[in-house]
């Protein structure tokens, strides 16, 4: 069996229940080197539960998780990291009052000498270099991360995970809170990580972002896998439809068909369609009149 063919991480019929709530049921997933596996799903689909299992925060209650073909369970995030699985959480797991470099090396501090003192200069240098690779220069690495922008914090978290997490990186909705340009930077970095031979799990609810970088797509709904397809077998339209729940999207578009989004009209005119006139704030009304 060649190296590329063996998935680094493999989930077989993984399930997790909290009491009698089944957050995740029969989920299977394969992560290979140099591939981006996108996990999509609406709110409450079980995405977060899935990451928590893989990153070692929660234990699964059903199924088997394999790393390099060997069944295993993680008792803590540290164990997951030791096997090369790094996670960038939605809330980024940064301590807001701590400086940039202290956050970057948290839990993996570099120490030197027989007294094992922190090697601050080297940590600052590496931190600066790694952030520069992501296109961000923070002149004062002693600043608390709480004062930085969302994009900068995202970059610190991703750069940190890539610097320490050698083989699999899990990104939990990295673009959810970002603007268009910052999202682009993050997506570019996902591709860079893939090209560097990492297996990437990209969790998102944005099919457009997923389709830009993904090789493999898994759609979750209400704790179950409803789609598991390779990029070749799928178009963006299909993915979007599957993600929004095909039938539901059709119904929605039928329902909204009367309200032509391109149409510019005074709010009063809309009541001829099938949607009731929304209560628009005065500012928006003024804007619409002007464009009209």
């Amino acid at each position: 069996m060649s190296v590329a063919a063996t998935p680094i991480l493999e989930l077989e019929d993984i399930g997790k229940s909290y009491g009698n709530v089944h957050a995740l049921r029969g989920c299977s997933l394969r992560v290979r080197q140099g591939e981006v596996t996108c996990v999509l799903g609406d709110n409450g689909a079980g995405k977060s539960t899935l990451i928590k299992i893989v990153s070692g925060l929660h234990d699964h209650t059903d199924g088997v998780m394999k790393v390099d073909g060997e069944p295993c369970r993680f008792g803590s995030p540290r164990e997951a990291q030791a096997t090369g699985i790094a996670t960038v959480y939605q809330d980024l797991a940064l301590a807001p009052l701590m400086s940039v470099w202290r956050n970057f090396f948290l839990g993996n501090e570099i120490r030197r000498g027989p007294l094992r003192v922190l090697d601050i200069d080297r940590m600052k240098q590496i931190c600066h270099d790694e952030l520069a690779k992501m296109g961000i220069v923070i002149p004062d690495l002693d600043r608390p991360v709480g004062g930085l922008s969302g994009g900068q914090r995202q970059c610190i978290a991703i750069a940190r995970a890539i610097y320490f997490g050698a083989r699999v990186i899990i990104l939990d909705e990295p673009t959810a809170a970002l603007g268009v340009k910052q999202s682009g930077v993050v997506l570019k970095y996902i591709v860079k990580a893939r090209d560097a031979g990492l297996g990437v799990i990209f969790i998102t609810h944005n099919p457009h972002h997923a389709y830009l970088v993904g090789n493999h797509f898994v759609v979750l709904k209400l704790g179950r896998v409803v789609l598991d397809a390779h990029r070749d077998e799928l178009s963006l339209e299909q993915l979007t439809a599957e993600m929004a729940g095909g039938q539901e999207l059709q119904e929605l578009s039928h329902e909204l068909s009367g309200a032509d989004p391109g149409k510019v009209a005074a709010p009063a005119a809309v009541e001829h369609g099938q949607v009731e006139a929304p209560d628009l704030p005065p500012v928006m009304e003024a804007e619409e009149e002007r464009t009209a």
């Binding site: 995030p77 996670t87 940064l94 301590a95 202290r102 270099d129 520069a132 220069v137 600043r143």
Partner: protein, 351 residues
């Protein structure tokens, strides 16, 4: 940025001009201990002005002694607060430790040193129990240690009354090992006209060691992290539980050190002592720049806070003012220090 020239890939990195490098002065001012340093200078100048005995060099020893008895506890309490937790039992835990050493040695006729080490084990166990209970119950440490505060207070009075029929322990100064133990925990060193109690040495050593651990050690990084955001710290692989329990045990260790000084300074321990001290430790830490919410603060600041206490306590005496006003003065100091801390920090962050 000299580093930018050495590697071509870095040249393409766009420098965010919204985040400018701060001046050295601004960086110094944004350190957590600045407020307490300013406060210490003001208090020092005030008493130098109004209290004649304050200017006497020989009184430095007395002032530092007062500061050291608070400082020995303010240091671990500050570490614990940076780690995001309170210990309201810290004051009575000192008494518990002194009582335990004395009662154990006296009642079983043991060498005093055996009592001393049994008390150490007990103090560490109380700290570990506080930490364990915190994680077991998931309650805030304010409530958990408020519970142990009352429990220890009751045990101190109850057990002492039970064993001695009195509110204080018996004098142990004639027992085996007392002389050597007093050398360790209660001796005095003369430096010219200044007589320094050994607690001053312990206080300084503790401050240096704790500051080193906090800023230059892996564990220090973890302390900031568990206080700043415990779930983030856990997610990144920091052993949150072990770090916090360790901090409670550090408070236990220092409570033991203070308790031993209490015992060997006065040969006997009053069982009702220590109530209310826990707030003084917390106030010293807060004056020193520790946030009540955790994740930020300084050990050096807490020690300066303790020094402010020592100066105020004796300064009021030396100035001939009524010592009844001491507590009112403290309250004002606390408020002023925290306001200055917040103000200075905000100003420095904006620069």
């Amino acid at each position: 940025m000299t580093a930018a020239a050495t590697e071509p890939s870095r040249a393409e990195a766009i420098r965010d001009d919204r985040v400018a490098t701060r001046s050295l002065a601004a960086r110094m001012l944004s350190r957590p201990e600045v407020g307490s340093l300013v406060g210490a200078i003001v208090i020092f100048a005030l008493f130098m002005l109004v209290a004649v005995p304050f200017r006497n060099v020989a009184n430095i020893g007395t002032i530092l002694y007062g500061a050291s008895t608070i400082g020995i506890m303010a240091v671990p309490v500050a570490l614990l607060m940076i780690g995001g937790e309170f210990d309201l039992s810290a004051g009575v835990a000192v008494t518990t430790s002194g009582l335990a050493a004395s009662l154990l040695a006296w009642n079983f006729g043991l060498n005093v040193w055996v009592g001393v080490f049994l008390a150490l084990a007990l103090s560490l166990a109380v700290g570990a129990f506080n930490g364990w209970l915190l994680f077991k119950t998931g309650l805030p440490s304010f409530l958990v240690t408020l519970g142990t505060f009352f429990v220890l207070q009751g045990i101190n009075l109850g057990v002492t009354r039970l064993l001695t029929g009195n509110v204080a322990t018996a004098d142990i100064s004639d027992m085996d090992g007392f002389a050597s133990a007093q050398q360790v925990f209660g001796s005095e060193i003369s430096l010219g006209p200044i007589n320094l109690k050994i607690t001053v040495l312990y206080w300084v050593v503790l401050t240096v060691v704790a500051a080193h651990i906090l800023l230059r050690r892996q564990v220090g990084n973890w302390i900031f992290a568990v206080g700043g955001d415990a779930s983030a710290a856990r997610a990144i692989g920091v052993p949150v539980r072990a770090t916090k329990i360790g901090l409670f045990m550090a408070v236990g260790f220092c409570a033991w050190l203070s308790g031993m000084h209490l015992l060997f300074q006065f040969n006997t321990v009053q069982s009702g002592e220590g109530v209310g001290k826990e707030f003084i430790f917390i106030i010293a830490a807060v004056i020193g720049g520790c946030l009540l919410t955790g994740g930020y603060g300084s050990v050096v600041g807490a020690s300066v806070g303790a020094l402010i206490f020592g100066m105020t306590q004796l300064g009021i005496n030396y100035a001939g003012w009524n010592p009844d006003w001491f507590k009112a003065f403290l309250g004002v100091m606390l408020l002023l220090a925290t306001i200055v801390n917040v103000y200075v920090k905000r100003k420095a962050d904006l620069r």
